[in-house]
């Protein structure tokens, strides 16, 4: 029986993680992640979570502990945010290259200095090239569903990669929303046990992380790339299966909203992605033909689908991150997806850095500026004359 749970993004994430029965959770506290791992600790106290829970002395150790556990073939989960994620950086590469499907929530928070605990996506965007699969969620229900889907995806034998599920600080992590929670039996039926092809096993000794020569190393990288390509198909299948079993669908790599007949398609992620829907509704009411393609999966990147969109509409991108010296990361990736294959115009906005609110009204303003032909190629919303 499905029940409705009204709770914050973090407690919802804790519930989802526990329903996947990870054998090991290792974590270190950081605002705004703390209540996520405290939530798991509570389930440990009530007996609902039966795995091992390790309190470590830093995020670097948290990820190292998850890697060690995962190498023995068990299921692992952790959560972090901002500087915690940055401190993990070395271990993120390690987990991905060792092909260990550690599943982790990252609560998107500003990177210092200029200490600030609010929403900003630069923390996870700067981990783009570590080899992790990256999802960005825009509601507590999506957080719940994506965590369970991620275990299935990351642990799949053709993937064997870690997955990061990101959601915005406070806007989701500390905001309560109603969420449908399926019963445990149905989750168990959806999510098979982890069955790794190789693991640390006294009966069949292997060594992880051995020395490897250039020619072989290159193959390792190619294999990782192929798994990311395959993940594009698998994410589609998993989302479909989820819909069939549980009746909910948040899109696969992208979520399309009112894109039919749209002249302009907005691309955004995370909480701005949710706010964008309200903006699209209002613009449509005014007769303006806007649609939304919310980027749910940033790695692997849905470049083929974005190219298809550009054949029908011009694109507008909002980034809650900045790659200094270039532009918003999503903007760059969107344009790279179109290279030489389309006539679509693309405009980019940087908005909501440092946790600045980006309400739907502001998104409408950005869109209107584009229709009026007044938008520059790239601009900082609210700072550069919008």
């Amino acid at each position: 029986m499905t029940e409705v749970m009204i709770d914050t993004g973090n407690y919802i994430a804790a519930k989802a993680a526990v329903m996947c029965k990870p054998d090991v959770v290792a974590a270190y506290p950081i605002t705004p992640q703390t209540t996520l791992v405290e939530g798991i600790a509570k389930y440990l106290a009530t007996g609902e979570y039966k795995g091992e829970y390790i309190c470590v002395e830093s995020e670097h150790s948290a990820m190292a502990a998850c890697i060690g556990a995962s190498a023995t073939g068990v299921r692992t989960f952790t959560g972090t945010s901002s500087h915690g994620l940055l401190l993990m950086h070395e271990m993120l590469h390690w987990a991905a290259l060792a092909r260990l499907p550690v599943i982790m929530c990252n609560i998107n928070r500003v990177v210092g200095p200029g200490w600030n605990i609010w929403a900003d996506e630069n923390d996870s965007i700067s981990q783009r090239d570590t080899g992790w699969i990256q999802f960005y969620c825009s509601s507590n229900q999506e957080i719940f569903d994506t965590i369970i889907q991620s275990f299935k995806l990351g642990e799949h034998e053709k993937i064997s990669l870690p997955v990061m599920i990101s959601y915005n600080a406070f806007i989701l992590s500390h905001t309560s929303m109603p969420v449908f929670v399926p019963n445990q039996k149905d989750v168990d039926a959806f999510l098979p046990n982890r069955a790794p092809k190789w693991k640390l096993d006294p009966d069949n000794p292997i060594t992880f992380g051995n020395i490897i020569l250039p020619a072989e190393y290159e193959k390792v990288r190619l294999d990782m790339q192929k798994s990311h390509e395959y993940a594009k198909k698998l994410i589609l299948e998993i989302s479909k299966e989820w819909k069939q079993r549980f009746g909910r669908y948040h899109g696969d790599l992208l979520e399309f909203y009112k894109c039919d007949g749209a002249d302009y398609i907005l691309l955004s992620m995370g909480a701005i992605g949710a706010e964008s829907k309200a903006a699209i509704d209002n613009l449509r009411k005014e007769g303006l033909k806007f649609g939304l393609a919310r980027v749910r999966c940033f790695r692997p990147f849905p470049k083929e689908e974005i190219l298809k969109l550009s054949k029908k509409a011009d694109l507008i991108v909002i980034d809650r991150n900045i790659s200094p010296g270039m532009e918003g990361a999503l903007f760059t990736e969107v344009k790279a997806s179109l290279y030489d294959n389309t006539d679509a115009k693309v405009c980019g906005f940087i908005a909501g850095l440092g946790g600045k609110d980006v309400p739907f009204g502001d998104i409408e303003k950005m869109c209107k500026k584009v229709i009026n032909g007044k938008a520059r190629h790239i601009e900082w919303f609210g700072l550069e004359g919008v």
Partner: protein
């Protein structure tokens, strides 16, 4: 020369008014440590243009932000590494680090042990409240056995880290531990630490009513502060009782936390040794050149 007589005057001189009010809860001990530090600076008459503060992350690490002086609020656990760089570039500056038990003894422990071992010239003021205050009360590595924390809901079973003891073992030049309810010895101690070349550690036991006191049922703020008087003892008294006391007296004090100056030695500081090394090599090089001529 001490010109300042009252706390108000002291605050006016050293506090950065624009940052007022502080983030600290009622009954937090951090502000007192700041006040002690101000008195020590004032009494030593240090040129504040030659004093730099550094800190990591935590409530305790917020202190440099409230001081009208240069400060570097760095990342969690790494203040000592940043401070080493500050000192290397400015050997005649005083570098003071504010840090917490989590910041210094937990995530940043490695920097601490190596700075103490190398006797790097700096004054580390570690405020030990037995808890990660800022993140809402996770167990710190210094928490006494049995302490309740969000990550130790049934009582701590991990043996606490005695950070002063560790610093002594590493050969730090100056090591002292104090509380926040008796101003005179700690102020004197901070002065000694600041004047010392090499590594100084000042550990302060300070109450955190919000994240530690409440959970550990230490009573209201007044009672919580009194806990520190009831559960600490001066090193000299402790040693006297352990030597000459009755069994009953010994049993009474054996679990108390000792306060006082644990170590006060004169090993050369790292930069002193480094300068000597450079001089020696330069001299050798000059001699070799002269030899060639």
């Amino acid at each position: 020369m001490v010109e300042i007589k009252t706390a108000d005057e002291l605050n006016k001189k050293f506090l950065r008014e624009g940052m007022w009010p502080t983030i600290f809860c009622n009954g937090c001990g951090h502000g007192v440590v700041l006040e002690y530090t101000f008195w020590a600076l004032e009494e030593l008459g240090l040129d504040m243009d030659k004093v730099i503060f550094a800190s990591g992350i935590g409530c305790s690490s917020r202190l440099p932000g409230y001081i009208n002086a240069d400060g570097l609020h760095t990342t969690h656990g790494r203040a000592i590494a940043f401070a080493t760089g500050i000192k290397a570039a400015n050997p005649d500056f005083h570098v003071i680090i504010f840090t917490g038990d989590g910041d210094c003894a937990g995530i940043g422990g490695n920097h601490f042990i190596h700075a103490a071992r190398r006797n790097i010239d700096m004054t580390v003021i570690m405020i030990n409240n037995f808890i990660y205050g800022m993140t809402g009360g996770q167990l710190a590595p210094t928490a006494p056995l049995g302490s309740i924390a969000t990550t130790a809901p049934y009582g701590n079973i991990e043996h606490p880290f005695d950070i002063s003891n560790l610093a002594c073992a590493l050969g730090a030049n100056y090591v002292a531990r104090w509380g926040v309810s008796h101003p005179y010895q700690p102020i004197k101690s901070i002065k000694e630490g600041l004047e010392k070349r090499g590594f100084s550690l000042l550990e302060f036991l300070a109450p955190c009513p919000t994240a530690y006191g409440r959970r550990n049922k230490l009573g209201d703020i007044k009672k919580h502060w009194a806990w520190y008087d009831d559960n600490t003892i001066l090193i000299e008294d402790y040693e006297k009782i352990m030597k000459y006391g009755t069994e009953e007296e010994k049993a009474q004090v054996k679990d108390k936390i000792q306060l006082g100056v644990f170590q006060d030695i004169q090993k050369p500081g790292f930069f002193e040794s480094y300068e000597k090394l450079v001089d020696r090599l330069r001299e050798k090089e000059t001699k070799a050149k002269e030899g060639k001529k």
